[in-house]
Amino acid sequence: MITLLEARNIGKRFGGLQALSDVSLTIRKGEVYGLIGPNGAGKTTFFNVLTGAYTPDGGEFVFNGAVLPSGKPHLVVAQGIARTFQNIRLFRELSALENVMAGHHIRTKASVWGILTQNKSTVEEERLTTERAYELLRYVGIERFATATAKNLSYGDQRRLEIARALATEPQLLALDEPAAGMNATETVQLKNLIEQIRSDGVTVLLIEHDVKLVMGLCDRVAVLDFGRKIAEDVPAEVQKNEAVIGAYLGGGHKHAH
């Protein structure tokens, strides 16, 4: 298995709170990697450090053999890492189609001059961007809402749209932050199928999720964070049996128990 992403001793501190300490993990190409842990364990912080929203206090990420720039989200996206948000963050006033087209921004090149003169390559690029965005909407199953304003979509469709927008950046690694949060059973099953589809199309998935059933059914490997530390990393079946993990979730015998 080829390593796609390697986190080396990532640390992040907010004032007196050590949100992440010495987190190291390896994500292999083509797998669905789960990141779980109790609330406040540092999962989203890990996402934010990975995608450049925060600068880590220590450690580095190696992606495809090269060190990722820290604190520069657009460069991280350019390298091939895309993310979604725990609380949906769409471009509310744009249509679904335009949201996905905006996601394609980093893979397009048209200059202001090209846009002003509408030269051949700009027009062609715009046409391809539009068509591609529509294909992605179809891929996630919401193409019938292409011209609807994003804020008017249903909750589940907004989640899908966010995934389509992330896919438009042409990522090798797609990081999903609690994609099933607030979804009903049917929607969760559809989401699971979608993630499996994405994986089989060659995109590695990093998944933060609270829905244990979804994580266990979907992930190839799972890492567990608790108080900013990685306490386990294994296949789902093994993680489920892990004493430290059970302790972290149930509070039994753990020194930080509430």
């Binding site: 995608t51 450049g52 929203a53 989200p73 657009h74 996206v77 350019a78 895309a82 993310r83 948000f85 963050r89 769409l90 471009f91 509310r92 006033e93 744009l94 249509s95 189609l97 335009e98 087209m101 905006a102 996601g103 394609h104 921004h105 980093i106 397009t108 048209a110 202001v112 846009i115 002003l116 509408q118 700009t122 690029e125 715009e126 046409r127 961007t129 539009t130 068509e131 965005a133 529509y134 292409a146 011209t147 927008r165 992330a166 438009a168 950046t169």
Partner: protein
């Protein structure tokens, strides 16, 4: 253009093609109608076009990119003073307009970037305060740079700017067609300004439906998410500031040369607010809104000024309210009514950032 046609009440939705011709007819015919009421009204229209240019440029920054700019008039000042320095007896330079315009656009863009850099991390109220300060700094510089070396001629301003000369054709002179019939210079300016406005509309609508327009809209709606999909928000903000400023600079040149006189007084905070009001009143984030807002709010005070006194005299026998007082009163009233009845402006933004026609083959329609 389409947006503007669609904004025509009643006709716009039913017959966009007819609405488009109507808009074109109004744009071309307006000064002819205005002339029937006197030359002043053509002048009012000329100024309305300048305000449209300003509002279009500010709309780029405020409406599309979501950066609240209260010092926009500074770029107008940069343009006007560039024209005054390069084409007036002040330094005894008489540079042709084809050189002044791009230079002014360039200087204004540079000023835009100068403003843009320090405010990159600011949003909303904080950004408004800093840009407001920037606008005042520029005005105060213009006001005081007459000592020790006289650069701007201070509060007196700079006189007798060269008129616009296109291909040896002086826009400030009337064209004598026959003995009795002459085309007034105000008309020439009108059509020249109109050409500039049309050019700007084309440019801005192209920008709107492009990766740049979408990146701005994305940044406006959610900056964090915009970063997360790879938009370089720093560059996009600077681009918005500099392109917006370019429009300000160009209209500044037109203003200076049209007026023949520039002084710091024309670039006060109230002017910035007036332009912002036009954008907000018309409807932020769409071209038609900026245009309609600029026309209404620049022409209405003039109409009032000419009507207030005679109407009051006819009704009450004497003048109760000074036109200036009445103007502020009615403007405030208009703003309050707008906030209550149409909180997103006369023409609420329904801006398109993509061409649906590319998806026709797939059966997608609006």
């Amino acid at each position: 253009m389409n947006e503007l046609a669609l904004a025509v009440p009643w006709l716009g939705k039913r017959n966009p093609q007819a609405a488009r011709w109507l808009v074109i007819a109004i744009a071309i015919g307006a000064p002819l109608v205005a002339m029937m009421f006197g030359r002043t009204w053509v002048r009012v229209l000329d100024f309305a076009l300048l305000y449209i240019l300003l509002a279009l440029g500010l709309n780029l920054v405020v409406g599309f990119a979501g950066l609240l700019d209260l010092g926009y008039i500074a770029f107008y000042a940069v343009g006007a003073y560039t024209a005054a320095f390069l084409a007036s007896p002040h330094f005894d330079l008489h540079t042709p307009i084809w050189i002044v315009l791009p230079l002014a656009a360039f200087f204004a863009a540079m000023a835009g970037i100068t403003l843009g850099f320090p405010v990159l991390r600011l949003r909303g109220d904080y950004l408004a305060i800093v840009t407001l300060g920037f606008g005042e700094i520029v005005r105060i510089f213009m006001n005081n740079l007459n000592y020790p070396i006289n650069i701007t001629n201070g509060p007196q301003g700079i006189n007798s700017l060269d008129p616009i000369v296109l291909f040896g054709w002086d826009l400030s002179r009337n064209i004598q067609v026959t003995e009795e019939l002459a085309i007034n210079s105000l008309f020439l300016y009108y059509y020249f300004f109109l050409a500039c406005v049309v050019g700007s509309i084309i440019f801005i609508s192209r920008l709107q439906i492009s990766r740049v327009g979408r990146a701005w809209a994305a940044m406006r709606d959610d900056e964090l998410a915009a970063k997360a999909i790879g938009i370089n928000t720093r560059n996009m903000k600077l681009l918005a500031f500099s392109l917006g400023a370019t429009f300000g600079g160009v209209s500044g040149v037109l203003f200076g040369t049209f007026q023949g006189f520039v002084s710091p007084e024309s670039f006060s905070l109230m002017e910035s607010i007036a332009v912002l009001t036009m954008v907000v009143f018309g409807g932020m984030g769409n071209i038609a809104g900026a245009i309609v807002g600029a026309i209404i709010l620049s022409a209405l005070p003039e109409i009032l000024r000419h009507l207030a006194v005679p109407v009051q005299q006819a009704l009450f026998g004497h003048v109760l309210l000074d036109p200036e007082v009445l103007r502020m009163l009615l403007l405030s009233l208009a703003m309050i009514l707008m906030m209550l009845l149409r909180p997103s402006g006369l023409i609420p933004a329904n801006a398109k950032y993509s061409h649906i026609r590319y998806l026709k083959a797939k059966g997608v329609t609006e």
